[in-house]
Structure formats: C-alpha cells, structure tokens
Amino acid sequence: MVKDSGTPSRPSRLRALNEPRPIQVLTEHDLPVAILRSDGRDAVENVQDTWIVQDEWWRQEIDRQYYSLLLRNGTIRTIYHDRITDRWYEQAY
C-alpha cells in the first residue's frame, strides 16, 4: 500500500497538448537562419514552407507566421514568429 502524501486532490481538467515552446532564433531579412541553443546553434538549410495563422482578433489576437525548416543536421522543425509579441516559438503543426 502506498503511503498517503497528504496532497489534496485536484479536479480533473484539460491540459493543452502541443503547447508552443519559446526558442531563440537568428534571422536574416526577416527569415530564420538558425535556431539558437544554449550550447550552439542549428543552422537552417532551407525554409520548406511558410504560412500565416491569424485568428481571434476580437479577443486576444493571434498572428503567427509559421515556418517549416529543414535544418543542416537533416531534421525538420516547425517554428513560428509571434508577430504581436515579436517572439519565436517551436510547435508541431
């Protein structure tokens, strides 16, 4: 039998899946050229696709420019530029 931790139980709730993760991006002419890591950077080989998601202007406006990037190490990552806060995030689309 596991010992009771004494932590009060919490009501079940929905937790968003695939929430955006903040990242740091190096840009050139407004296009991402590298994703910065604490121990280096992943250079972008090619921007394979880009699209814009604008929504919900009537409440908290969403304005994102997504990029599907092929990195020099061969991986494909999807990132977006939040055009309202001018911040970069990673998020699978």
Partner: protein
C-alpha cells in the same frame, strides 16, 4: 590521369572545374528574346508589391543600377533598361538540362548550394577522354548555350576553381596550375569566400579585404576570432579546400504537364486540371503502391511569365490525400495571372506508409488492476499522473487547441 604531352602537365591530375553563368535569370530570359542581348536588363517583379531590382546585367550595372534599388531609381539611372520578369519554371528547366549534360561528361557534378547556375565538376579520371583539363572544361562550356555567357575555372580545389571561373571571360576557361593557388587568390576580395555576408563584413572591418591579407595572419588567430569558419576561410585563401565534389542525390521525380484549353483564371478550373494530372501520375507504374512527400506546382502564365510553388506535405500522400492537400493550398494562394499551362512535379517518392490505428481499448479484465494502480498513484501524488488524449477542436488552425490531455479516471 591526364597526359602531360600538351601544354598542361601531370600536375593537373586532381582537377576540379567550376562552370558558372552570372546573372542566370536574366541570361536565361534571353533564350526566348535573343534580340535583348547586349541591352541593359533589370530583373524585377513589379507585381509582387515591392518593385525592387533583383539582379542586373553588366550593361545595367555599368550605369549604376544595383540590386536592391527601387525600380523607380533604377529607371531614372538607366532609362533604356528593359525590365525582365522572373521565370522560375524556365530557370529550373534549363538548369536541369545543363546538369544532365554535365553528368554525361562526369558522374561527379555538384551544384553550388549558395549560387544558382554554378556547378563543380570533378575531372579526375577523364584523362582518356580529354587531352587536357582545359579541353574538358571547354567541353563543359559547350554544354551551355553561348547566349548564357558561361565561363569556367579549373584548379585543384573547388574554391580556387570558383574564383577562377569568376574572373574568366565569357566562353573562356581560366586554369590555375597546382602550387600557384595562393598567389592566384591573393588579390581576390574576401567577399568571394563562401560565408555569410556578416562574416565578410567583419573581416573588412578588421582591415582584411583581400584573401592575401587573410593568409598573412596565422590561421589560429582567425580560428580564435571566427571559430571553425575562420580556419576554413584561412585554408580556402591559402588554396587548400578540404571539401570534395559531392554529387547530388537525384531522387526519383515524376512530372506531369497539362496545357489549359484556355488560360485558366479560376482556382476551380486549375483544380480540375490538377485532379486529372494527379490521377495520371498515380496511374504510372513508377507510382504503383507508392506515395509522395513533396510536390512542386509550376504554372506558365501569359506574357512569358511563370510561377513556381514547392510544397512539402505533412505526411506521404496517395492520390486522394494529394488532391485534398493541393485543393487546400490552392485556396490559400493568390493566382498571379491567367495560367496557360501547368506542371506538377512529384518528389520524395516512398512506399505506402501504414497508419497505426487506435491502440486496442483495455479489456474489462484489465480494468481492476489499472483502477487500483490509479488509486494508489492518486494517493501518492494527489493527482492521477495518467492522462488520455481527447479531441477538443480538431479543426482548429491553432495547434494547441486541437487536442488536450484529460486526467485518466477509470
């Protein structure tokens, strides 16, 4: 090995040729309009919203026109300039043709990753076919229509060959004998190094404007300032280039083309054509039981213009999924003009991908142990750490809204 009977010696046994076409988009446009050859040409796309100069021929550059200027500034400087619209479909078709011809001469051909219409060709082993490396390079120049003004450089390394091709006259070959690379490169500007403009800008700010100035410094100093790129820059400037000619992997490609009966102005009409092309492509035996990952849509527009849009699919698609994906993307696009013909290029051909269905649901006899485990975990952590994924707004354009984790309560 090349024989040493001719003017060139056996020092050229390891030779790399660089073939390039400066201002490729403008030169390729001349294939359709040769009467414009010799006139100042400006590449620009006024319909894109930002009418700026994308490239110029030497005749326009001589009058002060530079890439990045607005079209208004450029035409003020050079009133007789002819504006040429980009034609990416034709550029990629001609580039492919040239690559095919070069590969018929040597199997080791590498397109430059940073510069369009620039190829490196490894001449090693071609001695039986060509008496000299210059003769081999001349044969490569002959692969290109003269109006495109190709030029070539031959040296022992890729970078030196690229610089030699950069200073060669149109239609001519510039050879750099082995051992003279450093001397040859000394006066070349640092901007010719294959590095981002920030690095060459920093080099110039440090007073290093030529490759000779770079090699006058110890390699360690450049490595300390710029990291591995600094050392590579020093090596390249010294005539040492460790990068081999790496031929591109030519993946399987399927192209379907369709001429529209009348120029298509509506997406619906274009979509009818695309549906037909997708079905035709998938009825080919090369695509039997296979799917595609990448599509390039090319449209030939009125007035010798073209438009090209590569699309990477989120997952390999068969005909039905591909039609859906094309439909979705086409609706989000602005057609640049009436479409006379359309081509669909399919790449990334893979075997059909099997999709795993939902995991089998837990059978009732498993429920009691799981219920007990969840109860114990809840007592230990105050909350069940088991979750299940539920659909919330699967149609949402905002990814984090589509699914959610719900605490698993058996």
């Amino acid at each position: 090995m090349f024989p040493d009977a001719e003017s060139e010696s056996r020092e050229h046994v390891m030779a790399i040729a660089c073939l390039r076409i400066p201002h490729p988009e403008l030169r390729i446009a001349l294939l359709d309009q040769p009467e414009l050859d010799g006139m100042p040409l400006i590449l620009s796309n006024p319909e894109s919203g930002r009418a700026v100069v994308l490239d110029t021929t030497d005749e326009a550059s001589a009058k002060g026109v530079r890439a990045g200027m607005t079209l208004r500034e450029a035409t003020a400087l050079c009133p007789d300039a002819v504006i040429v619209m980009p034609n990416p479909a034709m550029v990629s078709r001609i580039s492919r043709q040239i690559l095919d011809r070069l590969e018929a001469i040597s199997p080791l051909v590498e397109p430059d990753e940073n510069e369009a219409a620039c190829w490196y060709i490894d001449l090693t082993g071609l001695g039986r076919h060509f008496p000299t490396t210059t003769a081999a390079a001349e044969q490569m120049i002959a692969c290109v229509q003269p109006i495109l003004r190709p030029r070539a450089g031959v040296a022992t390394t890729k970078f030196t060959a690229r610089v030699a091709a950069g200073i060669a006259r149109p239609g001519a070959v510039r050879s750099v004998p082995k051992g003279q690379e450093k001397e040859f490169l000394a006066n070349a500007p640092v901007s010719w190094l294959p590095f981002p403009p920030e690095m060459t800008h920093q080099l110039r700010r440090l007073g290093l404007s030529t490759l000779g100035a770079l090699t006058a410094l110890p390699a360690s100093k450049l490595a300390a300032r710029f990291g591995p790129d600094g050392r590579l820059a020093w090596e390249l400037a010294s005539g040492v280039d460790p990068r081999p000619v790496t031929p591109i992997e030519r993946d399987e490609t399927i192209v379907e083309e369709l001429a529209m009966p009348t120029p298509a102005v509506s997406r619906e009409m274009l979509m009818v054509g695309l549906r037909q092309m997708v079905h035709r492509a998938f009825s080919r035996k090369e695509l039997k039981g296979r799917q595609v990952r990448q599509v390039t849509l090319r449209a030939i527009l009125e007035n010798r213009r073209s438009w090209e849009r590569p699309m990477v699919l989120k997952e390999p698609c068969g005909p039905a999924a591909l039609i859906n994906a094309l439909e979705l993307r086409l609706h989000a696009m602005e057609l640049p003009g009436p479409v006379e013909a359309v081509a669909l290029q399919l790449n990334g051909i893979v075997h059909e991908v099997a999709h795993q269905g939902m995991l089998p649901t837990l059978r009732p006899r498993h429920a009691p142990p799981l219920t007990n485990a969840v109860e114990q975990l809840k007592q230990r952590y105050g909350l069940s750490p088991l979750f299940r994924i539920v659909e919330v707004e699967p149609w949402s354009r905002i990814p984090e809204r589509r699914h959610a984790l719900l605490v698993y309560e058996p």
